[in-house]
Every structure is written in C-alpha cells, then in structure tokens.
Amino acid sequence: MPCGVKMIGKIAWKNIWRNKVRSAVVIIAIAIGLWAGMFASAFVVGMMNQKIDSVINLELSHFQVHHPSFQDEMLPKFVIPNSEEIIQKMNNNEAIKNTSPRVVAMPMINSANYSGMLKVTGIDPENEKRVTDLHEFVLEGKYFEGIKRNPILLSKKTAEKYKIKIRSKVVLTLQDKQGEITAGAFRVVGIYDSKNGMYDEMNAFVLAPDLQKLLDINHDVHEIAVLLNEHDLAESVATQYQEEFPNLEIKSWMDLASGMRFMVEAMDVYTFFIVGIILVALLFSIINTMLMAVLERVREIGMLMAVGMSKLRVFKMIMLETLFLCLIGGPLGLLLAWICIQYFGRYGIDLGGASYSDYGFTNLVYTQLDMMSYISVTLMVLGMAILAAIYPAVKAINLIPVEAIRKI
C-alpha cells in the first residue's frame, strides 16, 4: 500500500475515534440497520417459505392433473380419463417423487349439532403419505386406522365447529355422477391440526373407494397430485405434461393456489420496501453524522489542502472514515442478524393472537435467510454508506482553504 494511502487511512481511522459517542451511534445505527434489514427479510422469507411448504406439502403438491372442467364446476362426472396409465407414466419419471390420485367432492356435512359444506378428498392413505404431510398433523385418533367402514379425518377446527369427537358420526350428502342426491354416514377416525387455519376449516379426508362408491364413479379419480424431487422444476414439468396431455388441465402450484404467485411477488416488493426504508433512514443518519464531522473540522481540512493535500486525498479520507464505520458496524449487524435468525429459525416467532392462520399462514414463523441474501443486504448497506459519504466528502473538497483555515 502506498505510504500516502496508509497515512490517509491512519488519519481516517483515528478521526472516527475523535468523537467516540458519535461514532458509536453511527456504528450502532449501521449494525441495527443491517440487523433490521436482514431480520425483516428473514421473517418474510421464512413466512413465505412456510406458506409455500404448506401449499406444496399439504395443499397442492408441485402440480396437479384435472379434467379441464373439474376445477370450475366440481362435478363428479369430470374424472381424469385413463388416470392409471398417466400415473404409471409419471411414476417412471425420475423428476417425480410420488403421485397421489384423489377423488374430490363438495358435500354437505351434518353432525348432530351443525351442518355445513366442506371439501372432502378421497385418498389412498399410504399413497398420500408419500405426497403430503397430512399424517403428521393427526392430533387425536389415528391416520385411517381403527375404523374400517367409512372413516373420515377432520380438522380440529371442523371438529370444534361441528362439536364432534373421535368415533362421532357425520353424514355426507352429495350429488353422484348422475346428479342424484346420495348420502353416506362416516365415523371420525382422526382429528388433525395443520396450523393452517384456512386449509383446516375447509378440508376433510375419506378413503377414495368410499367416496368413489358414493359418487358412483367406479375407480376413476378427479385429481392427481404430483410431488417432485425439486421445487424449481414444478413449472417446467407441469408444462411438459400439459403438452403431452393436451386434453387435461395440468397446473403448477403457483397457478393452482389463487393469489400465490401474486403473494410471492408482493412479498418480494414488501421486503424490498422494508429494507429500502431502513436503508434510506440509515443513509440520512450517516450523511448527517459525516456532515457534522466535516463541518467540525473545516479549519483542519482547509489546512490539509493549504499545505498540499489534494482534493482527491481529502475525498478519500472522508470516504474511508465512513467505510471504517461501516466495516465496524457491518460485521456487528451481520453477527447480530445471524444470531437472531438462527435462534428464531430454530425456535420460531410466535405471532400469538394474530390471525395469520386464518389466511393460510402459520402462527409460528421460523426465520430463514440464504447466503445470497446475507451478501446482497450487506452489499446494499455498504453501497448505501458509500453513497452517504459522497455528499459530506464533496462538501469537504469544495472548501476554500484560505477561508477554511480562518474558521473558528
């Protein structure tokens, strides 16, 4: 390093400790700004990833296959033709982890105390285990064990609403394939709680053959849920099968979950704004502090230029002072953020009474942030600090030495 640069660095380093309290305030502001930016990002990323996990691992899987009219009309007759052949073909694809054929209906459900409408999905419990985490959420009773005839798995919310318990009887009333009203009695085999209130409120599960029988659709299914080995392949594999089966409707989870694509994009914008607001606040804090540091040293800076320190060197000195503050505050903020993100990533942030669950989000958010985000937020803070230093540095080099050295 050239000795002049070393000396300027040394002066800049010593300058930042001339007013320890002020420097400490800036360092803390940078650290807190960085922490806040990262933590806010980690919170949003955690919340979104949990929602995406929930959508994929509980609600939709990576993509689904339907009869083109089924999603709109939900009529039993819109089954998937040749579903077994399609499933077999899919199961031979290495990108696909598992498939789960389902029968779907929207019956009236009646208990002794309450009546209402639910989405009832007929599943093969073993197949479903390989595609969704439903079995892991069973709180009471067992996952389709213990009741042989017409078992039904309900959510805790539904059980409370309908005032029913394990082994209670409920009656499903629905239209069969021919449009005839039919009904069947089911007994509660288990109660689950996925922590996704909106999903729980809407969904119940029965065995596929029981529902097929009620609907009079033989062995046909309405839906094939497909889980992939990699999240990122969802759109491309779905498109590939859509091209292969143009008479079916094959949609990825982003298109199936209404508003999910919008939500993911909106959350990115939301995070951008939060981090942006924090950075702007930090920007003005640094500008203010560095400007004070320059204005307090007008005579000294004037002297430096008078005795021969070039404007470029003065500029570098002020920039270095800011950079040093950032290099102290930055790692502090990074460490603080990393500790908090790790801690809440492990134990979660309990949103308490907040009704996020009603909107499909869990009440317990586990923060998470990838390395790229750590790097990008750090670079943004550093870039912002450099930007903040420019104005005070320009102010310094615009001083007129002969006037500056006379300032009191």
Partner: protein, 229 residues
C-alpha cells in the same frame, strides 16, 4: 544583471466583491530574494494576510502577476496550486493547525508522505527537524499534550519537512506567550541564518518585527515602507 527572486509580485491587487467592493491589496510590487527574513506588517485590515495568501497560492489576485522562482502562479488550477504548495511552500499558521489525531512526529512527517518521500529519508529528516526545533523528546506526543509553543514548533518542522522554497508564517506568535514566542523566533532565525531558509511573516507582533531583517509595511493595501536592516 537581473536578480533571481524567490517571489516576484507585479501590480498585485485583490478586490473583494460585495455591495461595496473592498480593495484589500492595491497595485503591490514586491520582490523577495532567497534567504530573507522578512516581516510584512501593518494594522488590521491593511492587507498583509491577503498579500501573504496570494504569495502562498492560497488566494488568487484580481489583477497583477505573482511568480515563485520564476513560475507564474496566475492561471494555475486549484489542483495545480495544491501540488505547487506541497512542493514549494511551507506554511505556519497562527492557530498551529496540526492534525490532532497524529503525534508530533507524524504531523511533521505528514507532508513528506504526501510528497511520497521514501521511508528512510523521511525518518531521518523528521528526526533531524524535530531535533532542530527542540522536540526530539516529544515525538509521540499528540498536539493536545503539547503547549502552544511546542505545537508551533511542530508546525515549523512540518513546514520545513517538504524542503520548501520559502516559509510563510501568518502571525506565528500571536497565540504564544513571550517565552514561547522568543524561543520560536530564535529557532526560525537560526534556520534562516544557518540553513538559508527564507521566512516571510505577516505580523504586528513587535517581537517579530524586531528580529526581521526586512520590514515591509502595508497600509490600506499599499506598501508604504520597505525597510532593509
């Protein structure tokens, strides 16, 4: 035969613009030779600091020319002037103006660092200069740990560090007690006599005037007397 002057000013004027323009220096002609020990004196507002600032390339004349060792300062850009000052002119200011975060040694060394003088030469020169000004036992003291007189002696060492063509000292004794002022003047007079360093002071301190070998008196921006002793 034409004499070689360190400083040569011709018809030098400085007018400060304003509602009522002020003529701080008025058509001054001045030549200063090598090895002079010159005091520019005059009452407050007589224009001595303005004249000194123009000689030092810190201020630009409204009209007239100024040359340092035959190099014309008029027309130089700000950066050229800064570079010129770095290599040709030493400054001693009234308020010492040391860098508070650096030690006495670092303050004296600073100019040489800007000049990119190699380490060994720097070390040697800074030790010798601080010894000359009697501060070789205060190398690691910061300005706040030094008296006013000691700080001004560091400033002299700093001014000489760059091996300037001349040293401009603006009221160097104004903030010093008598003992420190005499001490400083002794050092500067010795440097002038023994090493031939040219000193130009702006002052109204009688102690400085008494030691000067040439006294230029300004009044209302004009030279009213130029006495060589």
């Amino acid at each position: 035969m034409k004499k070689n002057y360190v400083i040569e000013a011709e018809n030098l004027s400085k007018i400060y613009a304003g509602v009522v323009p002020v003529k701080a220096v008025d058509e001054v002609n001045l030549q200063i030779q090598d090895n002079e020990f010159t005091a520019i004196v005059g009452p407050s507002g007589s224009g001595k600091s303005t004249l000194l600032n123009m000689i030092g390339g810190l201020d630009r004349p409204t009209s007239g020319t100024i040359k340092v060792n035959d190099i014309l300062l008029n027309g130089m850009t700000d950066n050229q002037l800064i570079n010129f000052r770095l290599h040709h002119i030493g400054f001693v200011f009234q308020s010492f103006n040391l860098i508070p975060v650096l030690t006495a040694k670092e303050n004296a060394e600073f100019i040489m660092l800007l000049q990119k003088v190699p380490l060994q030469q720097r070390e040697k020169r800074v030790m010798s200069l601080l010894k000359e000004v009697g501060l070789d036992d205060k190398l690691d003291s910061r300005p706040s740990q030094l008296s006013g007189g000691q700080q001004q002696r560091v400033a002299v060492a700093r001014a000489l560090a760059s091996k300037p063509d001349f040293v401009l000292a603006d009221e160097p004794t104004a903030n010093l007690d008598s003992k420190s002022a005499f001490n400083l003047l002794d050092i500067m007079a010795r440097l002038n006599q023994e090493e031939g360093i040219t000193f130009i002071f702006s002052t109204h301190d009688q102690r400085v005037i008494d030691r000067a070998r040439r006294v230029i008196t300004l009044e209302d921006g004009k030279i009213v007397s130029d006495e060589i002793r």
